[in-house]
């Protein structure tokens, strides 16, 4: 309960700063509008205008909240104006990409730990893949896959996996290498096979590292899915919502989509964290 007060203070401070910023950023347009309509630019008239513009430079918090509420609850969830519908489109690509990225990351890590040649050849490419801006890669992935007839969820999932495999790879390699020389000698003294060492020692030892990287990966997956929705002029998904908002100057719509994405990421990370706690507690690795 001690945390409630500081959290509230920070939250209120952010909202206050936001309101002040909205006032200053929207003031110019408000003055022009009042002049056009021949209204006396009093403080209250200006203030009212900056807080209620239809296409503000920076929408005020209550406008975003209203847009968010309207998008989430004011529509049928099958409507193309519903953030629930768009969110689901993005979420499905995120989860597909997360599963693909996690599997790829774990498989590559297993190879790297067991094979010296893979250790030296795969890692540089994995690092290189992450240094190329994803915004440059995404359109190419979409175009290439579309040319062989793959459209819809899969291209977005591929971009999402592109971002999420890397943290899983790095974390799992680190985790699989945590058993110390004594534990490996112990296994050797029992004449254990490499697969027995893997399943009984390396894999369980890597769990804390794997989960830490899964939290990073699920958030990266969401970013990848949204980025994957930007290029091809997709009509569905949070990324498409962001894009159409920016075409038509619908800043409230952009901010509402952004907040939906942020909330979605938060919930996903919480779910992974919950699975982590359950698993590690069962394994006796967290108390």
């Amino acid at each position: 309960m001690n945390a409630v007060l500081p959290v509230l203070v920070v939250l209120l401070a952010i909202i206050a700063v936001w309101y002040v910023a909205a006032w200053f950023l929207n003031l110019n347009w408000a003055e022009q509008q009042l002049a056009r309509e021949g209204i006396e630019p009093t403080f209250s008239a200006l203030f009212h205008n900056t807080m209620t513009q239809e296409r503000p430079v920076l929408p005020a918090p209550h406008q975003v909240a209203a847009g968010l509420y309207e998008g989430l609850f004011g529509q049928k969830i099958t409507s193309k104006r519903s953030l629930v519908w768009h969110g689901w489109i993005t979420l499905s690509a995120t989860l597909a990409g997360f599963v693909m990225g996690t599997l790829a990351g774990i498989l590559l890590a297993v190879g790297i730990v067991h094979n010296r040649a893979m250790d030296q050849s795969v890692m540089p490419w994995a690092v290189a893949s992450q240094t190329v801006p994803i915004l440059a890669i995404a359109p190419m992935v979409i175009v290439v896959l579309a040319s062989i007839g793959v459209t819809g969820l899969l291209p977005k999932a591929v971009i999402s996996a592109w971002l999420s495999f890397f943290p899983v790879l790095v974390g799992t390699v680190k985790g699989l290498r945590t058993p110390d020389q004594m534990q490996l000698d112990q296994m050797r003294s029992w004449n254990a096979s490499p697969s027995q060492v893997f399943w009984r020692l390396r894999l369980p030892s890597s769990m804390p590292y794997l989960f830490a990287s899964l939290k990073v990966a699920i958030a990266a997956s969401l970013v990848g899915a949204i980025v994957g929705e930007l290029p091809a002029g997709a009509s569905a998904g949070l990324g498409a919502r962001l894009l159409s908002g920016s075409y038509y100057g619908q800043t409230v719509q952009i901010w509402a989509a952004l907040f939906t994405a942020a909330a979605l990421a938060g919930v996903l990370v919480l779910i992974v964290g919950w699975i982590e706690r359950m698993t590690l507690r069962r394994m006796g690795l967290a108390r």
């Binding site: 004594m182 112990q186 004449n191 369980p204 006796g284 690795l285």
Partner: protein, 259 residues
């Protein structure tokens, strides 16, 4: 009873390091007989752990001949000739004590019923009966090390190799475990190789004390103990015990004479 089980004939072991070769072992001759309790004692860097690891085929000698149960050390390892107890218990936190002890049995392919029966038997042997369902963190350090000894005993190897198993424990616990170890040795008639840097521990436990010295790692003295096999803790105050301890100390000092 007095069949030789471990025979070392002029073993050398040289590690190639960035600073040039390090002679970990040089010209080590040693015979360990069935049922012996052999302690290896010496200052750090004298190769006592390396010698034990060589017997366990965790290191390979660069020269000389070494046989364990009449086989090469590596064949002996594959034949599961020995149980090895490391300095730390090395129990897996995600397994209960019973599951930890069953780990080598699983790896070696023992049937489930057999595993459970063996786990119960060795738990009783190290005085941990009833603790099988506990997790390692619920046990004290001494109990954890006893569990690791139980694990090394579970598959009935004739040889037990122990690398400073009680080094991290306080003296009171150590005395208790030394007594328990002698009792266990008497009951199981195993051949034990035991690395330590404590003179009283070596003298109290052993039928044979191997004194080693560093740079290059070699044997400076082998003392056949004259103490009876059954030893109460009080034996440490007898003149006989003190005489052996004195000879060990002399041997250690001689190894350092050139420093």
């Amino acid at each position: 009873m007095n069949e030789p089980v471990i025979v070392a004939d002029g073993i050398d072991l040289t590690f190639q390091t960035a600073d040039g070769p390090v002679h970990a072992l040089k010209g080590v001759d040693l015979t360990i007989n069935q049922g012996d309790f052999v302690s290896f004692i010496g200052p750090s860097g004298c190769g006592k752990t390396t010698l034990l690891r060589t017997i366990a085929a965790l290191e390979t000698p660069t020269g000389g001949a070494l046989s364990v149960n009449g086989m090469t050390p590596d064949e002996a390892r594959r034949a599961r000739a020995y149980g090895y107890v490391f300095q730390a218990p090395g129990l897996y936190p995600w397994r209960t004590i019973a599951q930890n002890i069953a780990l080598p049995l699983e790896i070696m392919g023992f049937a489930k019923a057999d595993r459970m029966e063996r786990v119960e038997r060795v738990l009783e042997l190290v005085d941990l009966a009833g603790f099988g369902a506990k997790y390692p963190w619920q046990l004290s350090g001494g109990m954890q090390q006893r569990a690791s000894i139980a694990r090394a005993l579970s598959f009935d190897a004739d040889i037990l190799l122990m690398d400073e198993p009680f080094g991290a424990l306080d003296e009171i616990v150590r005395d208790r475990l030394n007594e328990a170890l002698l009792e266990l040795w008497a009951r199981t008639a195993k051949t034990i190789g035991f690395v330590t840097h404590s003179i009283p521990e070596a003298v109290f436990l052993s039928t044979k004390i191997v004194v080693m010295s560093p740079r290059p790692g070699r044997i400076t003295d082998v003392i056949e103990s004259t103490l009876p096999r059954t030893r109460p803790l009080e034996i440490r105050d007898t003149p006989e015990f003190l005489a052996i301890a004195h000879r060990v100390r002399e041997g250690l000092r001689a190894g350092h004479a050139y420093d």
